[in-house]
């Protein structure tokens, strides 16, 4: 690591950079937004879509911001008329082979292609082109693929190969027929896919979506609640997406401190137990062989009197408590306190061994 510091100007704003930083990273630091389509911070710079092109003083051709490293005293303009024209053209081309389906698309409101088309006022009608007509694929429990909506940014393929190293999907076919696919177009199973959903999380369009969340609400209808995964000790964060009092899906938190938007199958797709009909709904008290429903007050009164009489009859050390590594810090602390202050014994332990 060298301590070299470079001065770069972006749209007239000066920004201090270090070598190897890209123009895109530099722009982000001063809040200048450059449109991107094939870029994801989790991936190596790629430079496929050219939407992020910017003008660098002294360079005749526009350069992609996501792959071009900054140089000292670089003077960058991100938004000129000619650059806007090129971007609009790229979008026109992409839309010319895109189904006009935003009104019922799962990704509406959460689609980079849609947002950029709006911003650049294009609708794909300028170029009449051949359009794909490929069937929707959802022959697996979690991931729906609508190939017609794919813009071939390669993000799904790169995240699966670079980051997850699962090698599930690749760009297959050539030219007009190339498409991200599993090898031999086999359905996804655990033999070829981890179902981590990283591909879904990076797709900038509605081509890859979470099957189990489909039709349950669009991004702007869903309240997002940031939380921590309840499964393993890695502590990944994600957003619970809530509509009408129900968790309908989990989405990536790209700014999460540990997992940076990545999740495993449990974190991303293991949420449905929350609303399982098998959840215990009310307190239950044993009457002979049967468990009978009770109100909280009945159950807690019964527990209180039972423990009181056990303590009276056999002493404090005939009772105890046990807590779990699944419970929160506050609950564990509280149980440790409860057993000592209410039961007045040190017979308290937890399963935090494994």
């Amino acid at each position: 690591m060298s301590d070299t510091k470079w001065k770069v100007t972006i749209n007239g704003i000066e920004v201090e950079c270090v070598p190897h930083e890209t123009i895109l990273q530099a722009a982000k630091k001063v809040g200048v937004k450059i449109p991107t389509l094939c870029h994801d911070d989790r991936l190596e710079p790629y430079g496929g879509c050219r939407l992020c092109i910017v003008h660098v003083k002294g360079v005749p051709r526009p350069l992609p911001a996501c792959t071009t490293p900054v140089a000292d005293k670089m003077d960058i303009t991100t938004d000129t008329d000619s650059i806007r024209k090129i971007r609009a053209n790229i979008l026109e081309l992409l839309l010319s082979n895109h189904p006009n389906d935003c009104m019922r698309c799962e990704a509406t409101g959460d689609c980079t292609l849609q947002d950029l088309s709006y911003e650049y006022k294009v609708d794909g009608k300028r170029f009449e082109g051949e359009q794909w007509d490929l069937p929707l694929r959802e022959d697996n429990p979690f991931i729906t693929f609508e190939p017609n909506k794919c813009v071939l940014c390669g993000r799904c393929v790169r995240i699966c190969n670079e980051v997850v190293m699962a090698g599930t999907i690749e760009i297959s076919g050539r030219g007009f027929d190339s498409i991200p696919e599993t090898s031999f177009k086999k359905p996804r199973t655990l033999d070829n896919c981890e179902f981590c959903g990283q591909c879904v999380s990076t797709c900038p369009t509605g081509a890859l979506t979470d099957k189990r969340g489909r039709g349950k609400g669009r991004s702007y209808e869903l309240e997002k609640v940031r939380t921590t995964c309840p499964y393993c000790g890695t502590g990944c964060n994600f957003d619970l997406n809530v509509k009408d009092g129900k968790v309908v899906k989990v989405t990536s938190a790209l700014d999460a401190p540990v997992n940076h938007g990545n999740l495993c199958i449990k974190g991303r797709y293991g949420y449905e137990f929350i609303h399982s009909f098998e959840r215990i709904q009310t307190p239950l008290i044993r009457k002979g062989d049967k468990m009978v429903t009770a109100s909280w007050d009945e159950a807690l009164d019964f527990i209180a009197s039972k423990f009181k009489s056990l303590i009276k009859k056999y002493g404090e050390n005939a009772v105890g408590g046990y807590s779990s590594a699944r419970c929160t810090n506050e609950e564990n602390f509280l149980l440790a306190k409860f057993i000592r202050t209410v039961f007045k014994t040190n017979n308290v332990d937890n399963c935090a061994r494994v």
Binding site: G235, K266, I303, L310, G320, E331, N347, D349
Partner: protein
């Protein structure tokens, strides 16, 4: 976690997961990281992309073993011999960090003498790992600028789990691979809040924050805030509570969110104990093996239904937030408060943030933590004051032991509590698969996951399968000295000859009727990783 506490002074990972990607060498021992901790494994993969070297010690040919520069394919239960052997080679070649050893550690002489017994030939005999692999691993780990160790339940879940962790700490200390970024000894813990439950939680001999119950000054601080006298005599650990239940000394038990009748080893005994209690209360999300024994079952609230914090494996305290109402109307912390009030002890918290306030006032490592400060990044303890940013690298200048030096401990190899023999010739390792979690009560209720992994499997090597005439997908009977289950076989070269693997996520196949009754004497951690079994068609 007694192991790391003995060596370094604190029972927690020394570094942060984000530093894995910048390590020069990563040594993974006893962790099938890609399955057990998939997102930690993404950090390892990132390091590999950047050219880091990888050493893997595991009896099974796990995915990472296939990517490793050196795979130490040790026999199960031979961690201490293996690690002593690596230290032996490092000392013999003079690759140790002499400066670090002299300035920051104590007890080196004893260690040095002990590891002399572990020459490569001896170690090869015990572990089955060829000498050239041992040498390469030792050389790579010792000579890299930043070597980081990740270890998992394959170390802890042995009766020598504590020693295993100490042996790892010895290796890191000998090479001075700790106290800097992208080095250190990092445990990968099983359940989501193991770290937090240990930090704050209920122990029979400790008050929250690992504070000694026997210390009058500690008790006085708690007594003042809790307003009750605290008995200085330690209570019973859970296994002993079970014994006491069987001998009718223990009468009543309150179990918060645990399924011991499924996940504890040697569960026949657990069943007997729970059945002997006069009164059992269990609070959980679902009916489990344990709730079958309950006199009162209370509905638990899931992570989506309450506010609170979890502490992850790198000591990061992070929020969970209430997204939907609790199914039964009350979160677990509210239930505890209400019960306390009914039994005559006032607990008046309006919100978990107030409980955290009390934690901060009593637990030094959490003293600077409050809900206001836990933004989207959380805080890694130790966080001793309100303006402390938290700690990403521990032990940069001093260790947490009295005197500030780390301690070497000389150790002997001790094998598993149950060795294989003629009658029970296979070594059973239990663990997790990526798709499920522990007793499976949550993942099995998530329809897609259930569809993908509907049942338990026993992984067996092709050569053993051939010998026993078992084909892939066929049901086999697996028995140990304690019980028997029937389970579907999966023939795979992930298992070496003589070793079989099972998870424990399904209620139909209760793997833990097989597992061993041996435990780590220091922590009471069960030996899930070594039981002797036989397999029949």
């Amino acid at each position: 976690m007694a192991g790391l506490a003995t060596s370094f002074g604190a029972g927690a990972a020394s570094n942060s997961f984000n530093q894995i990607g910048d390590a020069d060498t990563i040594f993974v021992i006893g962790s099938n990281t890609t399955e057990g901790h998939p997102i930690v494994s993404l950090h390892v993969k990132k390091a590999l992309r950047k050219g880091a070297k990888l050493i893997v010690a595991d009896p099974r040919k796990i995915w990472l073993a296939g990517k490793a520069n050196v795979w130490l394919n040790q026999k199960p239960g031979t961690n201490i011999a293996l690690l002593n052997g690596l230290i032996h080679i490092i000392l013999k070649k003079g690759l140790e960090n002499k400066d670090f050893i002299s300035k920051r550690t104590e007890g080196f002489k004893e260690l040095k003498e002990k590891v002399q017994e572990y020459d490569p030939e001896t170690v090869m005999k015990i572990t089955g790992v060829p000498e050239e692999c041992l040498v390469e691993a030792a050389y790579t780990y010792a000579t890299s600028k930043k070597s980081m160790i990740l270890y998992g339940l394959g170390v802890s879940e042995h009766r020598t789990g504590t020693e295993g962790a100490i042996a790892i700490a010895n290796l890191a200390l000998v090479c001075g691979q700790i106290g800097r970024t992208s080095t250190g000894v990092n445990t990968l813990r099983g359940q989501n809040n193991v770290q937090g439950a240990s930090d704050l939680g209920p122990y029979p001999n400790l008050l929250p924050g690992y504070q000694q119950l026997g210390d009058p000054a500690v008790r006085a601080r708690f007594e003042k805030i809790w307003d009750v006298p605290i008995d200085p005599e330690p209570g019973l650990k859970f296994p002993h509570m079970l014994d006491a239940a069987i001998s009718k000394k223990m009468k009543g038990l309150f179990i918060l969110g645990g399924d011991q009748a499924h996940t504890d080893p040697n569960i026949h005994k657990v069943w007997k104990a729970l059945g002997s209690l006069e009164f059992l209360v269990v609070q959980d999300l679902f009916h489990t093996e344990t709730t079958k024994y309950a006199d009162v079952i209370l509905p638990g609230a899931s992570f989506a239904e309450k506010d609170g914090t979890f502490t992850n494996g790198e000591r990061r305290v992070q929020r969970i937030r209430k997204a939907v109402e609790p199914v039964a109307g009350m979160a677990d912390w509210e239930v505890i408060c209400k019960l306390a009030n009914k039994m005559g002890y006032p607990m008046k918290y309006n919100h978990p943030s107030e409980i955290m306030k009390e934690i901060a006032s009593l637990v030094p490592n959490y003293a600077g933590i409050s809900y206001e400060r836990l933004g989207k990044d959380g805080i890694q303890w130790p966080c001793p004051t309100k303006d402390h940013p938290g700690t990403t690298v521990m032990y940069e200048n001093v260790f947490a032991r009295p005197g500030g030096l780390a301690r070497f401990v000389a150790l002997d190899q001790i094998g598993p509590g149950e060795e294989t023999d003629k009658e029970y010739p296979y070594h059973l390792i239990t663990g997790r698969v990526r798709e499920h979690y522990n007793n499976g009560s949550m993942t099995r209720r998530s329809p897609g996951i259930k569809e993908l992994v509907p049942e338990e499997l026993i992984e067996i090597s092709p050569s053993d399968a051939k010998k026993l005439n078992i084909s892939d997908g066929e049901f086999v009977k697996v028995s140990s000295r304690r019980g028997k289950v029937t389970v579907k076989a999966k023939v795979t070269d992930r298992s070496p000859k003589g070793v079989v693997f099972m998870a424990f996520h399904h209620q139909k196949v209760l793997t833990n009727v097989l597992t061993s009754h041996h435990r780590d004497p220091y922590t009471d951690t069960p030996e899930y990783k070594a039981a002797a079994v036989k397999i029949e068609r």
